[in-house]
Amino acid sequence: MTRSLRTLAVWAVLGALAAAFLLAGAALDFDYVIPRRLTRLAAIVIGGICIAWSSIAFQTITENRILTPAIMGYEAIYLLLQALLVFALGAGGPMLLGANGNFLLSVAVLLAYSLAIHAWLFRGGRNNVYFLLLAGLVMTIAISALTEVIQYSISPGEFALLQGYSLASFNRAEPAQLAIAAAILTLVSVPVIRSLRTFDVVSLGRDQAISLGVDYQRFVRLHLGLIALLVAISTSLIGPTAFMGIFVANGAYVLARDHRHRSILSMGCVIAIALFLCAQLLVEHVFNYRTTVGILINLSCGLFFLALLVRRSERA
């Protein structure tokens, strides 16, 4: 199959999934069902793009294909923030700020965390993936432990509410948040699209990229900042997605069959959106809401991650 034909087939599948999601069992109810589903579809598209872009960019910069930005502790920070809100303000805490207030606060806190951790990690030109990983892992464990301490001191009702934040879902996003998220995403996409060819050079490795005239330090700082912004949007909009980025990025490398980021990034977006749509369709029409999107996605991507690790260790 030629490249363009395969691209066409992939987009056709995505279109069919989106149509099925919008119309299945809706009896063409344009007053309630379909507008509600359009909102969820928008959340899926924005979340999918953020996850695909952030994971692929992160993997290119760290020259490692089994990492996601989640390793840096972003999701743990988000959950800690929600737990603190519940603890300080009661069950209504996260809602007290209004959905938009909570969304903007989450984005701001995640961004501040990312700037702090980057300023600390890259102090003095240090740029070591293993150090980054270790620091991220330790931060994640420490922050999660703190979150647990808070969870033990709140009521069961509040705990159940908090539990809801720890799984991905498309139901919490409101149109106003989606509009803000879309606006931020558009702004982020400008430098990302302008750097697509530089990303290709960076995928040759740090040394080769510098030798070919990439201002490497500036590039890494800019794009780690943008990655933080993308993760902040997707986490505040749909919740933590843990392994999903690894699945999306590696699927994109295989399906795009092209090393250029132009192809890899667009394929990654398609895969992320398709995966969300499949999970949401299954939840709505097969499991009748007896399971959640977050569980389905973590299960399928977790299995994929294991398979990837097994395959890599066999090859090594």
Binding site: R65, G125, R197, T198, D200, V201, S203, L204, G205, R206, D207, Q208, I210, S211, L212, G213, V214, D215, Y216, R257, D258, H259
Partner: protein, 258 residues
């Protein structure tokens, strides 16, 4: 052309390169030799701006390289490290095209295409242009990376152990290509090489390093002597200077030197 003044690199207390002062002759091939851990690669990486120096200066035509903008620097000095294992799916001509990035930032012009063709022809791998890098032999892959570096059209090329893991035929092929780069195009080539026979037969100039310092920097004839090499490596050498080249025999030393 390119010179180094009191260059030093240390990691904490450990000094890797200490007080190195060198002038690399322009348009010549210079080999950096010396035992493992002598600081050859560290020196080369600092000259290529891949490693921050602790103190001292690297000058390109009298100008400190630290003040050059990344893209300008990449049009004057190209660095090739040992070819990495690579999990990218890309073809030889796509790889060589990256050599043009300092000029066109990924949007290839007619001039870029000409430079790519020239580089492919120069290392004689035109027939491999459609082959995928990960399917090539080690020697062919090294040729492809060298072609990328040549396509960068810099006056100066820095190569870190380009002969590593190559069979004899490919090693000779690489060295001949580097020799021709100097002789036909007047480029300055500086490389780290472990095989003393290649260094002796293909270089104009040799910089021998030991323990982070320059042990000897001189034209080939002054470095490739049994006395000098014995002191440098702590190994017995039998050097025969023949009309057709040098032969340094260290394979069956009489005994390890004290």
């Amino acid at each position: 052309m390119i010179s180094v003044q009191s260059l030093r690199k240390r990691y904490g207390e450990k000094v890797v390169v200490e007080d190195v002062n060198l002038d690399f002759p322009a348009g010549k091939l210079t080999s950096l030799i010396g035992p493992n851990g002598a600081g050859k690669t560290t020196l080369l990486m600092m000259m290529g701006r891949l490693l921050a120096r602790s103190s001292g200066e690297v000058r390109l035509e009298g100008e400190d390289i630290a003040v050059l903008r990344p893209a300008d620097f990449a049009r004057r000095i190209a660095t090739l490290r040992q070819s990495p294992d690579f999990n990218l799916r890309l073809t030889v001509d796509e790889l060589v095209a990256y050599g043009r990035f300092p000029y066109s930032r990924g949007f290839l012009t007619a001039e870029d295409h000409a430079a790519i063709e020239q580089a492919l022809a120069f290392v004689e791998i035109d027939h491999l242009r459609r082959a995928y890098i990960d399917e090539l032999s080690g020697g062919q892959r090294q040729m492809a990376f060298l072609a990328m570096t040549i396509a960068q059209q810099t006056d100066c090329l820095l190569l870190d152990e380009p002969l590593n893991n190559l069979d004899m035929k490919h090693a000779v092929g690489i060295m001949r290509a580097l020799r021709r780069l100097c002789d036909e195009q007047g480029r300055t080539v500086i490389l780290v090489v472990h095989d003393i026979n290649f260094a002796a037969n293909y270089s104009d100039h040799i910089v021998a390093m030991k323990g982070g310092r320059v042990f000897r920097a001189a034209p080939v004839a002054q470095v490739v002597t049994s006395a000098c090499l014995r002191e440098l490596y702590g190994l017995d050498f039998e050097v025969s200077a023949r009309p057709d080249g040098y032969f340094c025999n260290y394979f069956k030393p009489m005994g390890i030197c004290k």
